[in-house]
Amino acid sequence: MEKIYVAIIFLGLGTYLIRVLPFILGKNSHLDNSTFQVVLKYLGPCLIASLFVSSLSSLDTPINLYCGLKLFFGLGVIFVGNYFFKNIGLSVLMGIICYAGTGVFIRYIFGN
């Protein structure tokens, strides 16, 4: 079987177990202990921060003022959108539209 299918199956099973385990084990399980909670507190945000930086490399290269402005406005709108609407999906959508829109606007104003 291809590597990706093995990864998907393990990821699917693992994700399900992660979500359902506290429902089965309840409040008094060892998963509730303080060391585990402390590691958990840092692990998620750190992985997401690293993925965020890694995903930047998939965007336009080389880094210049044009892509810097798009990124600034795109991320800025996500930040503001999330502050006002408290909705991840909606703020992501607004950020995507702003990112694409800023690109079109800059090209329109300054040409290619």
Partner: protein, 232 residues
């Protein structure tokens, strides 16, 4: 009880705005890797976790090992343990079978809506309402992925301006998740991880950047926490 299920389904509609564009972007990313519509839809149907699915795509691009891919993606989903613990008091009177079922669809967005609504419902109402909510979210996610893989290229060709927007989707999602999780005590480990990831990427060691973050981040966080406690 059917009324509760329909109510949950209705309350999942706002998720369209969040799920569909991200799912389409995921579908396009799947297509750009040369994977089939079946593979993309299969992944969305089985995993149902946007951030780890995008992470898997990033790791596939970096040609990471199978073990690294699984551990990193599962590490990303560990936060869901906290979601289940938080919702447990509302759901503990349900039978184990029902809780098994509800565990599958506990995504970030479902958790946020459920946390706000579950206290207004009682007993079995909670089960049927959550089932409706999760089913709606699940269908939007799978539908969006399929749409992205099948017609993503058509959408991009018809409206070329959306192409950079779709490429930006994973970055946007990770950034949104990051700001939601941002707290004072996390700033130091996150700053360290951002710096370390830049350094790993700069020296063409991108496959080590994310596993490195999984070790460096919590380590710096725990050390920082102990130092802070000692000084106060």
């Amino acid at each position: 009880m059917f009324k509760m299920f329909v109510l949950g389904l209705k309350e999942s509609f706002p998720l369209i705005f969040g799920y569909i564009p991200v799912a389409i972007a995921f579908g396009v990313a799947i297509k750009s890797l040369g994977l089939s519509a079946q593979t993309g839809t299969f992944m969305s149907a089985l995993v149902f976790a946007g951030s780890s699915q995008f992470a898997l795509i990033e790791l596939l691009k970096q040609n990471a090992s199978l073990l690294t891919m699984i551990l990193i993606c599962l590490g990303l989903n560990l936060r869901h343990i906290l979601y289940s613990f938080t919702l447990l008091p509302f759901l503990k009177e349900l039978s184990l079978g029902k809780r098994y079922l509800l565990g599958f669809g506990l995504t970030d967005e479902v958790f946020a809506i459920a946390l706000a609504r579950l206290s207004c419902l009682e007993g079995n109402q909670r089960f049927y309402w959550m089932l409706g909510l999760q089913l709606g979210a699940y269908l939007f996610w799978i539908g969006g992925t399929y749409l992205g893989v099948v017609s993503g290229q058509f959408l991009v060709n018809s409206w070329p301006t959306i192409k950079p927007g779709l490429a930006f989707a994973p970055t946007a999602l990770f950034f949104a998740l990051l700001i939601v999780m941002l707290k004072k005590e996390i700033i130091l480990p996150i700053s360290t991880v951002i710096l370390s990831t830049f350094i790993f990427n700069h020296f063409d060691l991108s496959s080590l950047a994310i596993p490195g973050a999984a070790i460096i981040g919590p380590f710096i966080g725990i050390i920082g926490e102990k130092t802070w406690k000692k000084s106060t």
